[in-house]
Symmetry: C2
Subunit: 512 residues, 2 copies
């Protein structure tokens, strides 16, 4: 069927002086007419000369419009003949068919995404999506920007930006920039006793990205993975996303209860991975003792499991010198079972999005392949600037300053809370890091207390949310308080607000 | 059993003037002695005063060493009594046990990682790990750094760095910085006809990161996903990593053969996702015509599938105006099936590691949760600087310059190859983007030709590797050539080298 050629296209309405050119308006309106079925397939269009005359536009405008419509196959332009409308399916037909399907509802999510949705608290996701990021005491994971040497960082960045070469801009080693990998390795060798080669070092977008990589490379659906209990929620989310099962293993004052993890009924002796923070368990601050470390590595050797050492704030021990990392133990057979994960989010700032992991030689290719098929490597520029910052000694100097300030702040907050709060509320002091926990009476509702605090300008995390629910045991309520990011006056004020809210909520009498 | 207290510790060897302090040496050597079983559990150690005298060091040194060893649980310090060695398992015992297990070999990889290892060519991974990144014609995916307005980028970066606030440095919206999401949305609304809201925009670490996110959020093991054939290898790697099955769908001059994809035997009518590059299929340069676009979306509506529009170089069309994106079709029911993926790797440079994706409202929370549990959001600083670069009009100006230069280079390379190469070798010219393909005679070995070219300083990709092997059909040999990143003299020289190598390899006579 070849419909009659229309002499006039009354639906065309061109506006002179509109933001879009006349040709663009013509393209848009003709395409819409085809999609709407106003112009049917095989409809003969006027020649560009006729169309131009009909609409009172220049010949060039009509030619440009027809070329654009031919380019995407809306019309077919033929030499020495009038153009025709192509065989574009009519909107009414296929839209009706699509709507008739039940599948036309929201797209189906993968099992991974659905598992994740089941473990991420909706209010937490809401807070992230509503951009409620704020820096108030006692927020957790915040940096103190006042302590950062901005001028030096700025200089490192500007210098590297100006000197960037083509090879730099192309950077395609999925492990990251060699200069930062060398700088990081040297730093952790000195600061954390790590022994490894630069081949094993990966630069990541922070410690969470490194944890996610470990899950992707090592965990299959149904596998068990040890996680500390209490422990960070985001770690469990990453394990769940891989389809694996986070098995909460209790932490006492000597760190992870390896005996429980290896116990047939109470733990998961055949777990594939153990995630552990030997320097400070979050949030209790407990360190893993040497006997426990050996017990852990011995279990990993027997089980063929991998130990992921999350050293989030490992270098920020301010009481005494830092504890050596698991990779620093340097015991035969052990190094091939340990992945060491570190971050610059706490020592510098989270928006930098830089962290690292050191993997056993046998895992380098597998992790590199995952990186190459996903985010590849962080931006070269930030890697290069950070490498200079470390190599020139600024980072070590900054860490010293940071540790002094953090210790001062811990002492201040502990003293003030000890003075203000009743005996039923016990603050536990860490030897490093930047969080402390406050144990509340067993019947306290820590989630409600956190909400009441937020309304009065003080942030905290409820301890019960970081604790796994266990049959027959209730989750101990408490507050997780970050004390590293704010100067003394703000901390004192927040401590007083906190004491008042806690005292009221627990029915105890506040000390004055 | 309480062993006798040893009066002398002959194994201790302290060196004055060494890089490590005397206390650190003491810690290291005592810890090693415990691990090696030289000092057994419950061994009574000398008091710090006795140890100091014995070794000729200060009392403070001995006290510091004991404190450090007590901190990690190597020894137990008791008030008014000599310290003892803790119950540290002897190395010989547990190492022997670990070695006796077959599991003591390399850690087991996840199925995802093993699947990936099966599809990533080892030589490609070697090249990445050996840092062989280089910018030579006709490398693919390279930027021309000479064309970039470095001074302006530098200014944007420096200004944002100096103005960074605490909230900026904390940035925790997993979708990225609102100011860049707004700038990107405005840009793609104008340049690509995309209609969406800023809520739907995610900033990613490039287009590959966005593709990987789509796979994680939408694909389960065993699911089918359409991929263009020929098409990029990295896309298939991401699909495989999710455990899904990439189903190669042929591309002809009108783009993806939707009819083949929807065919019960030849395609995968129940695929969950179709990955498609409507603006330019890689590497053929074919665009998806309007009839095919509608056919594709109609299939997605019927199948309940999602279409991922990879718009890698969509705005770099230099012949005529850019084709509208699928999200620009603005048809009811369609927008909820389309994810639009873009990148700044080609328009700026890959080391920037910034791209974006626009997802249907129903997927925002799921994708945000995956981001929050993995890499979170790219570095704030680069996002803010890029937002300014776009908002101030520099990006649009740069794109115009880039398109002009790229068209000139395409014309030059095509003319020179046409002049030099025999008729059996056909170059296909794209209307945009930065790669062209050279079809070789059916019996040519394109992998060998690529190796011969590399030895003479010219890069290319073998077309056969981008093509799926299909039963009964051989893979058409050819070369994929990137022409966007180098100035004219280098392109001409490379074209001559290429012509000579190809003519020799195919036995044809080179034209002079």
């Amino acid at each position: 069927m070849v419909p009659a050629r229309s002499s006039s296209h009354a639906f065309l309405r061109l506006q002179r002086g509109a933001p879009a050119t006349l040709a663009a308006q013509l393209v848009e309106q003709l395409r819409r007419a085809v999609l709407d079925g106003v112009l049917q397939p095989d409809h003969l269009l006027p020649s560009s000369r006729e169309l131009a005359r009909e609409l009172g536009v220049s010949r060039n405008t009509a030619v440009a419009a027809y070329e654009a419509l031919a380019a995407d196959g809306t019309i077919v332009v033929r030499p020495r003949r009038a153009p025709v409308v192509a065989h574009v399916p009519a909107r009414a037909g296929w839209q009706g068919a699509a709507r008739a399907q039940p599948a036309a509802s929201a797209p189906r999510l993968s099992k991974s995404a659905r598992r994740l949705a089941a473990v991420v608290p909706p209010d937490k996701l809401d807070a992230l999506l509503e951009g409620r990021a704020r820096s108030r005491p006692f927020g957790v994971g915040l940096p103190d920007l006042e302590l950062l040497p901005w001028r030096i960082l700025d200089r490192c960045l500007a210098r590297r930006f100006r000197a960037m070469s083509a090879a730099d801009a192309l950077l395609d080693d999925p492990r990251g920039a060699p200069l930062l990998r060398r700088a990081v390795l040297h730093h952790v060798a000195v600061a954390r006793g790590v022994r490894a080669t630069v081949d094993q070092v990966f630069i990541t977008e922070g410690s969470q990205a490194a944890i996610d990589l470990c899950c992707r490379a090592l965990l299959d659906p149904g596998d068990a993975a040890w996680v500390e209990d209490p422990g960070p929620l985001a770690l469990r989310a990453a394990v769940r996303m891989a389809g694996a099962r986070p098995v909460p293993i209790p932490v006492d004052e000597d760190g992870l209860r390896v005996d429980v993890g290896a116990h047939r009924r109470r733990g998961a002796p055949r777990a594939r991975v153990a995630f552990v923070s030997p320097a400070y368990a979050f949030p209790s601050g407990a360190r893993l003792t040497l006997p426990r470390r050996i017990e852990l590595l011995a279990w990993a050797g027997r089980a063929g499991a991998v130990v992921v050492e999350i050293d989030y704030e490992g270098e920020l021990r301010f009481d005494g010198s830092p504890l050596p990392s698991l990779l620093g133990l340097d015991m035969e057979g052990v190094k091939d079972r340990v992945i060491h994960v570190g971050s610059f989010s706490r020592s510098l700032f989270p928006g930098l999005r830089l962290g690292f992991m050191i993997v056993p030689p046998a895992l380098v290719r597998a992790v590199a392949a995952v990186r190459a098929a996903s985010t590849r490597s962080p931006p070269y520029l930030l890697q290069a600037a950070l490498a200079d910052f470390i190599d020139e000694g600024h980072f070590a100097r900054h860490l010293r300053k940071l540790k002094q300030a953090t210790r001062r702040r811990r002492d201040l907050v502990l003293a003030e809370l000890g003075r203000l709060l009743p005996g039923a509320v016990r603050a536990r002091a860490p030897a490093g890091g930047s969080v402390l926990t406050l144990d509340l009476p067993a019947d306290a509702d820590d989630v409600a207390i956190v909400q009441a605090l937020a309304a009065r300008g003080v942030d905290a995390l409820p301890l019960s949310r970081s604790t796994a629910s266990r049959a027959g045991a209730s989750r101990a309520p408490g507050l997780i308080l970050g004390f590293g990011a704010h100067a003394e006056p703000a901390l004192l004020e927040a401590a007083r607000t906190l004491a008042a809210v806690v005292a009221r909520a627990t029915g105890a009498r506040e000390q004055r």
